[in-house]
Subunit: 164 residues, 4 copies
């Protein structure tokens, strides 16, 4: 297992959401993202301070060597980190990515690419998350990318109209 991976945290035992509807709100917001549909990304896990998004590699998301494009990897892990933070936001707030930094470590290839976002520090105005992307093939799991991200809490701006 990847050092620093903490399955306890991954299952959301650490953080307390301020909005009991947090999972429904993440699902509604994700469903409103045309980009996620276009690349065929799926929301596969939501817990307080955690979000997981998966993608099955296919030609329409490839780079020139046939692997999943680094930009597509960044799109799903950026979203996973953003929604991980969003699970801890108050009801009347939306989320904005301020910035992120991504290291691409191994080719994104296999049966499934799984991007996970973990809250490192929730905050009143800013939140910090980290992300991991693994390529899964059968029982095997390879670390493909790691991310560190800053999000902004947009108070008084509910998310997409259909998010509530």
């Amino acid at each position: 297992m990847h050092p620093g991976h903490d399955p306890t945290h991954a299952h959301g035992l650490h953080w307390k959401p301020r909005n009991p509807e947090y999972a429904a709100r993440v699902r509604a917001s994700f469903a409103a993202q045309g980009a996620m549909r276009t690349i065929r990304a799926e929301l596969v896990g939501v817990a307080p301070g955690y979000c997981a998004i998966a993608l099955k590699p296919h030609a329409a998301v490839s780079q020139q060597h046939g692997y999943v494009h680094g930009g597509i990897v960044s799109a799903i892990v950026d979203s996973a980190g953003g929604y991980a933070a969003f699970t801890l936001f108050p009801r009347e707030a939306s989320v904005l990515t301020v910035e992120f930094k991504l290291n691409l470590i191994a080719p994104a290839d296999g049966d499934r690419i799984l991007a996970e976002g973990f809250v490192v520090k929730p905050g009143r105005t800013l939140a910090v998350t980290r992300g991991e992307v693994h390529a899964e093939r059968g029982d095997h799991r390879v670390l493909v990318a790691v991310m560190q991200q800053t999000l902004m809490v947009m108070h008084g701006k509910p998310d997409a109209p259909d998010a509530d």
Copy 2:
């Protein structure tokens, strides 16, 4: 104009390519990226140490508020930076993104989103680029994102089979 934007550099007067076929190689590699086709990105400029990729906003690349998804912005500017570096590589080398960091500054919206990559430092093993993304509407141009990126020169590994 954005501070730090240097149109002289943008037109490629600073750097000397080591491969006279640099532009054809970038075009071939770009054409081999399924992901760029899927999101309808177009290669609109190649010069030594420079690459520009454009995208017309459409619903299939949107996030929940209707703007172009930050992950899609990152995909085009990551590619623009990578190909900017690639223009200066020797013939028998391909390019790999080691990492990048992206600040999202304003909503990506308008007639056209233009991502430009500029080489900051070419190198034997590693190259550093910076990127800018602007949203254009009529004559108006807004800075949407800035990137700083590290690339690796993969010596002895030509790019996609169709790249030469």
Copy 3:
């Protein structure tokens, strides 16, 4: 000259400060930083949206090969970027580094190390800057590092007590 370097901008013709005392405030804040004194950094330039900090290499700031330590390079360019942003802040606000990303490109060695911060995007809550560090030897100038940074405007919190 480094691509992207814009001497017009460096001399502060682009940005309008909201506080006419901006330069005095930067000087007072810099003088209150024990760390800058300890490493013998000097504030050598302040203009709207711009700040320059210099350091003469000496053994007390070296790493194991005798060059200036990357962490010391990061300390001066982090400060240069932070004060570049601070020049554009309103009177009753202080500055906080949210995060920065630094690429170390060449050994920091020579007669003088010059770190410059440039505002890319001022903002009501967040500001984005980029930084460049050059090593100077006689007339020669080598790009040593590039930075991209996010700052926070701390409204209602004046800087150090002695800053006004």
Copy 4:
């Protein structure tokens, strides 16, 4: 405890060093860094894929509000990450920071600032680490900063002359 902190990993059970002298080499290299002596940083832990550096806050490393300067925090966590990677390098190689990204999360204040570096991915040419900085006061521990870093393995270049 901080999510993602993995004390098992911190004690070095995951990674196998290729050089049995790894700890002595880290100590010798650290001792050769004038900058670490100047800021009074101490090497307090070395294990395969792990390094810890501590600092007692004092006026000579402060910023304008009296906390430890963010640049000093970056200097110790950059070193901790670099030495974490270095523990896994072969004998005839030295380490170079390619780049790092640091989020500053809380003021660095207390009895002791502890910076820890953890290897995420060792590699033949590049290594990736992450870093955490905590401020300790009595039994209390606050997360002050998180880092993500890329290092280069400089094959055939032993570290400082006194490192072996």
